[in-house]
């Protein structure tokens, strides 16, 4: 799996779940000096952060005990609040739909964890992510999709740099989920079979982020006009944060042909809706872009673009713009190109990088 000298100290980010537990077990089996770490993240007062709830801590500690590795819980609450929660709130205030998991990966699960790993005398960290890292002859690393395409998490990892990926191990790089489960059983690991959750981790049970935002970003809940693309007022919306691009339900406008959200304008607190012909965008800008190679391309090139973790990738042309951005021109329009979410750029199996989809029209 890896070619680390025996006894190499590796910090494994552990959640108590099956993936990170098996990741830790595999490294331990390989002879690494494994230390398990769980980061204590911020959560809305009165709620528990799913990623480090007391049960999860107990479970991860139990796994670490079974594997006979040390296990430490570290406080990352301030860094998480400033780096992830605040920008999430600000994003909604500005009318975009931020993806906090991306900032969390970059700032918390890598930058913060790497700094703690260094303190613990470890040069490498490992996680239970489904993705591959390939070292090339020139010393640079590439981020590749996981062979289990249904599990591939490279979308969330496009924010990482050469320096970070160079210090990262994905022990599950070649394993399919059923194999990971089987390994956990073979090792008699008492892992929790928690369902994968797409909910926000820091707003409490059920991921009720609207209730959280109502308190933290009140301006995103101001009623305002609903317009059609020509500027005719069709009704009133109850706050921009209730709507995402492509949304059909809950608009409260009756019409023979269904309406969809096609645009949100926070400056005028306006929601623009239209019919399916109005929906869809094939051209948008993305900025800033993180290039995993560390070098921004200068010429336009063809690539596959993924605008959401769960959506399929679509071919398109990537044109570098002055500054740190690119223009992306898809071969077909997509209905849910959402400012604040990430557009991630692939060529075949290689994740080249990606960046935040911008609000402004080109």
């Amino acid at each position: 799996m890896t070619t680390l000298p025996a006894g190499t100290r590796v910090v494994v980010g552990m959640s108590g779940g099956v993936d990170s537990s098996v990741a830790a077990a595999l490294l331990k089996e390989e002879g690494c000096d494994v230390i398990g770490v769980m980061l204590r993240l911020w959560s809305d007062p009165g709620t528990q952060n799913r990623c480090c709830a007391p049960d999860a801590v107990v479970e991860a500690r139990q796994i670490a005990g079974q594997l006979e590795i040390p296990f430490y819980v570290m406080d990352a609450k301030d860094a998480f609040y400033k780096g992830v929660v605040e920008p999430f709130i600000n994003g909604y205030t500005q009318g975009i739909t931020p993806n906090p998991c991306l900032r969390c990966n970059r700032l918390i699960r890598w930058e913060f964890l790497l700094s703690r790993a260094r303190a613990l005398g470890a040069e490498m960290i490992a996680t239970g992510h489904y993705a591959r890292i390939e070292k090339q002859p020139d010393g640079l690393v590439r981020l590749l999709k996981h062979p289990d395409q249904g599990k591939d998490q490279s979308y969330f990892l496009h924010v990482l740099t050469q320096a970070e990926l160079g210090k990262t191990i994905f022990p599950l790089a070649d394993l399919f989920k059923p194999e990971v489960r089987q390994l956990a059983r073979d090792l008699a690991l008492q892992v929790a079979e928690r369902p994968d959750s797409q909910d926000l981790c820091f707003v409490g049970q059920g991921g009720n982020y609207r209730k959280f935002l109502r308190k933290e970003a009140p301006t995103a809940f101001k009623p305002g006009p609903i317009l059609d693309p020509e500027g005719n007022q069709l009704g009133e919306h109850s706050g921009l944060a209730f709507y995402t691009i492509g949304q059909r339900k809950g608009l409260g406008i009756s019409s023979e042909e269904p309406y969809y959200v096609i645009h949100k304008d926070p400056a005028s607190n306006t929601l623009v809706i239209g019919h399916s012909v109005d929906l869809g965008r094939s051209e948008f800008s993305t900025r800033p872009v993180n290039w995993i190679s560390g070098e921004a391309p200068v010429k336009p090139f063809h690539a596959d673009i993924k605008i959401r973790y769960q959506s399929r990738s679509v071919p398109g042309l990537v044109t570098p713009l002055p500054g740190q951005g690119v223009k992306i021109t898809l071969t077909e329009p997509l209905p849910d190109v959402t400012p604040g979410q990430a557009a991630v750029i692939y060529q075949d199996q290689v994740c080249l990088g990606g960046g935040e989809i911008r609000q402004e029209e080109l």
Binding site: D33, L39, R40, Y72, A119, G121
Partner: protein, 386 residues
């Protein structure tokens, strides 16, 4: 990594083999209930009462003044709750006086007595090292004072308090005086008469005895009610079938401590002083917390380092093979400055960076040297991560 070095004897100590030898045959052969009338019960009772006699003798007490409990925290609970309630019942005394550096077993219990039973709780003034200001003690010894509780030696900062002098002042006014001597009793001889205490808590696992057993000394005539009711064991003060093997183990461990106090202290003091000297000299922005060398447990060192996450430092030290602790450390990664350090006036900048290194009879000079060699780099790495 080399074999890990244990430097957290204030948290707990390993069982002494000689204590295991005493307990083993009791576990195996003496299962009787000491309250039973038959011979099985009588055999167990004989061992139980021999342990009580031995402990009483080593404390300068009478056997019937020794109440066996499950631990030091339980002893603290019985002393505080039992005496506060009895004093209110008998004379309407409604004020509980404690120090600000008490163990949570006292602080939290006092808070609960205030919240649920309506007692008033006052906290004694202390100096920067946690020592009671004797000159101001009298202000707190009032008509309605139910009891005073001051710990003999602090677990976190090692400070010794002038127990005898506090006891004397309390006695002049007929106020019961309790002292949590869980740390003190592990290192310094106790004579309850000389110390002028009415109630005193001990826990066996701090002096190489087993976990799960402690005692409360209760001077004859001290007002006290049981807080665990049921059978009439322990002179009606603690209903529960006695755990005979652990109690016998505690008696043996205390006997050994009694015999070896000076030998152990002679071993510990130079090591303790070396750590204090080296840390203060070699670590920038460091302070010793708690008692000075004269008023400090012989095995105890504690520090604060500015601009450092004490939790992380303990983790870094552990990853290098040194088991220490921090007043702010917590296994759930939710650090808060220790209430003791906050009470002594340390700001969060300092209080969050605390480290406690406590030695034991098996700590070797080589262990201490290795620790001192490793510490500066560990601190530097923890600081760089902040």
């Amino acid at each position: 990594m080399n074999t890990p070095i244990y430097l957290d004897y204030a948290a707990t100590t390993p069982l002494d083999r000689r204590v295991i030898s005493v307990m083993q045959p009791i576990f195996e052969n003496l299962f009787g209930n000491p309250s039973s009338l038959h011979r099985f019960g009588q055999q167990a009772e004989t061992v139980l009462e021999e342990a009580r006699r031995s402990l009483a003798e080593n404390l300068g007490a009478q056997p019937r003044e020794i109440i066996f409990t499950s631990c030091g925290s339980e002893s603290d609970n019985l002393a505080l709750r039992g005496t506060a309630l009895a004093r209110r019942q008998s004379g309407g005394h409604n004020l509980i006086v404690i120090s600000p550096i008490e163990h949570p077993a006292i602080q939290v219990t006092a808070r609960q007595l205030a919240a649920q039973e309506g007692f008033e709780v006052k906290t004694l003034p202390v100096d920067h090292t946690g020592r009671i200001d004797l000159g101001r003690l009298e202000d707190y010894l009032q008509q309605n004072t139910a009891l005073v509780s001051v710990m003999a030696a602090n677990n976190e900062i090692g400070t010794l308090n002038p127990i005898r002098e506090i006891g004397k002042l309390c006695h002049q006014r007929g106020i019961p005086f309790h002292s949590d001597a869980v740390q003190y009793g592990a290192h310094l001889p106790i004579n309850v008469g000389e110390l002028q205490v009415d109630l005193l808590s001990l826990g066996a696992h701090k002096f190489y005895g087993p976990k799960g057993v402690g005692l409360l000394y209760v001077r004859q005539g001290t007002p006290i009610l049981p807080i665990q009711t049921g059978g009439s064991q322990e002179f009606g003060l603690r209903a529960a079938t006695e755990n005979v093997p652990l109690i016998a183990g505690m008696a043996k461990a205390y006997q050994l401590a009694r015999e070896e106090y000076s030998q152990r202290s002679n071993h510990l003091l130079p090591l303790r002083d070396l750590i204090i000297e080296k840390v203060l000299a070699e670590i920038p922005d460091s302070q010793l917390t708690g008692g000075d060398l004269q008023n400090r447990l012989p095995n105890h060192t504690s520090f604060v380092f500015e601009n450092l996450d004490g939790n992380l430092l303990v983790q870094v030290l552990d990853s290098e093979g040194f088991a220490c602790s921090s007043g702010s450390a917590c296994k759930t990664g939710d650090p808060a400055p220790s209430s003791v350090l906050t009470a002594l006036g340390y700001t969060a900048d300092w209080a969050l960076g605390s480290l406690r290194v406590t030695l034991g009879k098996d700590t070797s000079p080589v262990d201490v040297d290795r620790f001192l060699d490793a510490l500066p780099l560990c601190i530097q790495r923890a600081r760089e991560a902040k």
